[in-house]
């Protein structure tokens, strides 16, 4: 179960990035998986350098978050590219992000090669907890806590801050926001970068527990989509709910009926679609 929540925390981060960008700019970013992958690879490189340079191991999560945030600097660049087609049909935006997926795959291969990259001992730096009969690495809890903290932070940001109000206003009605004096293009850049950052940080945070492998971004897309379909497009709360459902569903499937592990996710997606087509927390109508 806890494993499911751990997976959900990571999924949430990627899905949150997706939701944010979609909610405001109505762009469904297929490259969200690529940012996740970039964050993972960069996370390995950053921590390896830091440790080699003599940094004390316990600060590695900061290095990871730093690497993720640093990579988010590609956000404005990509947004600039996407800006050229904001006014066009959404399909073009989808296609442009697909082009990005293809390009990022090769960029990653070019920079980091094809072998898996991993951190060997970072995972257990904080030790393990013994709960009942189970042994849980403390780092799993750190990631879950980070996911929760970021979710809360996002909620706060969107609901309570001026920036959040501007973002929500722009999402509701771009024309109106512009008329009220909002610099919409600046909002878009910031929102997109934030979305990218959520993905890259998610990838970086998960890397101590796993490894960065070729095409990891392409595989993640499907799960991220399942999360947003279940949670409802455009909703941050939906991202949380969807991520939890997908993560736990999978854990349950593996524990009880491993045969359908792969298909479980689609079953849930279709069930949600049939029963509640707009997703659980949908804001955008079908």
């Amino acid at each position: 179960m806890l494993g499911g929540v751990f997976h959900a925390a990571v999924l949430f981060l990627v899905a949150a990035g997706l939701q944010l960008v979609f909610g405001v700019q109505k762009i469904l970013n297929l490259a969200c998986g690529s940012f996740y992958a970039l964050g993972a690879y960069a996370g390995v490189s950053a921590v390896s350098w830091a440790l080699a340079a003599g940094a004390p191991p316990p600060i590695f999560p900061l290095v990871l978050v730093g690497a993720g945030l640093g990579l988010a600097l590609v956000g404005p660049v990509i947004e600039r590219l996407l800006r050229t087609i904001y006014d066009r049909d959404e399909s073009f935006q989808l296609l442009l992000t697909f082009a990005l997926v293809l390009m990022f795959e090769d960029v990653i291969r070019f920079v980091w090669g094809t072998a898996p990259h991993q951190l060997s001992s970072a995972y257990l730096v904080y030790g393990q907890l013994r709960v009942g009969g189970l042994v849980i690495p403390v780092y799993n809890l750190v990631v879950i806590a980070a996911g929760g903290a970021i979710a809360a932070l996002m909620g706060f940001l969107l609901a309570r801050t001026r920036f959040g109000r501007i973002v929500r206003a722009t999402a509701e009605n771009r024309g109106m926001a512009e008329a009220m004096g909002v610099d919409v293009s600046r909002v878009y850049v910031r929102v997109f970068t934030l979305g990218v950052a959520l993905g890259t940080v998610g990838g970086a945070l998960v890397i101590p527990a796993t490894a960065a492998v070729n095409e990891m971004g392409i595989d993640l897309i499907v799960e991220a989509f399942a999360v947003v379909v279940i949670g409802g497009l455009g909703s941050m709360r939906g991202a949380v709910a969807g991520a939890l459902i997908v993560g736990i569903m999978r854990a349950v499937a593996v524990a009880t009926y491993p045969e359908v592990e792969m298909l479980a996710i689609y079953v849930v997606v279709i069930a949600v679609l049939v029963l509640r087509p707009a997703g659980l927390f949908a804001k955008a109508a079908a």
Partner: protein
């Protein structure tokens, strides 16, 4: 009179021919057309590291061959195409055979690609020496009697050897087993072979859970939890790519590596990622046909390991050996057939005949092709240890078994063959 360079060279060459002396001064005349070897190498995705490894072994072989004068006097020219999905790879294969006019094509790793390329190699009469890509279903159904296609070792050879070692190592010590394998033919074949051999050796083990994550999965927290709940004495896994170290890392973090025995049939393929930090000692680990620090390693292997480590900052794995073998086997066959044909370059059919039953010195020792076009090799497996100067595990002692012991003979079914053993 000698008025220009061309005439000069002609005279020189004529004089050299007359005296029987060998002159390197006129390479243009002594130069024969290079022999093109096509290579299908995976470049992206989960098989990419394996493809890269194969390419390195190929390059090493070709460099040495060309330095020594080539194959029967012809230098080798490599043409590399990418192995991706079966449809596109078949097109690349056709390109190599029909357009590039490669005289032999090596490579091929994934099972589906093997199933698609095999029949194409036969219909084009194009010699194909696969690195991997073997599947028994394919062998039996698509091309039961291949003429031009030469395949790799059977899927289950690793599981067979690992199971034999496990039976020896753990007899009487285990009651329950669990399997975590990739959900495709390779994973399924290995798990099934393991169970059959456990039964044959009278191990009396009960499988308590078997898990089937997809190839390319990077998160096993739920799987590890399921394993913990089932509490098996032994966990069997045929993971061969990035998922092997991830599984161990997550298993170790959940405390599973204490007390549970592990059998990792092919994790040696990513041995450098199997760090001591999370890989326990006492596990059985398989390295397929190349163990980089084999105690009685041949000078060739030592030279290759050193070259590989210096050039790529990594130690080699088995695909380099499979790839190297295909190149030197081809060379040996061509030279053998050429001699039999009176010094002429042999036809494809003559090379095929020479390849059957051939034996050459490869990175992993002496190995060859059976007459049914399946590879023979030596496999290296052993018990993991932390007593080495690396940050990853190695094996000690190193067990070596030949495919003559761990691969079913041609014409026999796997389970019939296992049942026929005397234990």
């Amino acid at each position: 009179m000698i008025t220009n360079r061309r005439t000069f060279i002609k005279v020189l060459a004529g004089a050299a021919a007359a005296t029987g002396a060998r002159l390197d001064v006129a390479p243009a005349l002594a130069h024969a057309a290079p022999v093109r070897i096509g290579v299908l190498a995976a470049k992206a995705g989960v098989t990419a590291p394996v493809g890269e490894s194969g390419l390195r072994g190929t390059q090493f072989a070709v460099d040495r061959i060309n330095a020594a004068g080539g194959i029967a006097g012809r230098k080798v020219e490599l043409v590399v195409e990418e192995e991706s999905n079966p449809k596109d790879t078949v097109e690349r294969f056709r390109k190599l055979a029909l357009q590039t006019k490669a005289e032999v094509i090596t490579g091929g790793i994934s099972t589906a690609v093997g199933l698609a390329v095999g029949p194409v190699s036969e219909e084009l009469k194009a010699l194909w020496l696969a690195w991997d890509a073997t599947t028994q279903k394919g062998v039996e159904e698509t091309i039961p009697k291949p003429r031009y296609a030469f395949r790799s070792v059977d899927n289950e050879a690793e599981a067979v050897m690992a199971s034999i070692l496990a039976a020896r190592q753990f007899k009487g010590k285990i009651k329950t087993v669990a399997g975590i394998n990739n959900d495709y033919s390779y994973g399924r074949d290995n798990w099934a072979a393991f169970l059959a051999i456990m039964k044959k050796f009278g191990m009396n083990v009960t499988p308590v859970v078997d898990l089937w994550p997809k190839l390319g999965e990077t998160n096993f927290t739920s799987h590890v939890a399921a394993l913990q709940q089932a509490k098996p004495d032994l966990v069997f896994s045929s993971f061969w790519s990035g998922d092997a170290p991830i599984l161990m890392k997550q298993a170790h973090a959940a405390g599973l590596t204490q007390g549970t025995k592990f059998v990792l049939t092919t994790a040696g393929g990513v041995h450098e990622s199997m760090k001591k930090a999370f890989t326990p000692e006492g596990a059985i680990m398989g390295y397929n046909s190349l163990y980089f620090e084999a105690p009685n390693a041949s000078p060739l292997l030592r030279e290759f390991s050193k070259w590989h480590q210096e050039r790529f900052k990594e130690w080699p794995n088995y695909e380099s050996d499979h790839a190297y073998f295909t190149i030197v086997a081809y060379k040996a066959a061509v030279e053998k057939a050429s001699k039999a044909a009176g010094g002429k370059w042999p036809t494809t059919e003559q090379t095929v005949e020479a390849l059957e039953g051939i034996e050459v010195e490869s990175l992993s020792g002496r190995r060859g092709y059976r007459s049914d076009h399946i590879m023979e090799a030596s496999y290296y497996q052993g018990v993991t240890t932390h007593k080495n100067r690396h940050d990853f595990v190695t094996i000690d002692p190193v067990e070596v078994m030949s495919t003559k012991q761990i691969q079913k003979p041609s014409g026999t079914g796997l389970y019939d063959w296992i049942n026929s053993w005397s234990v």
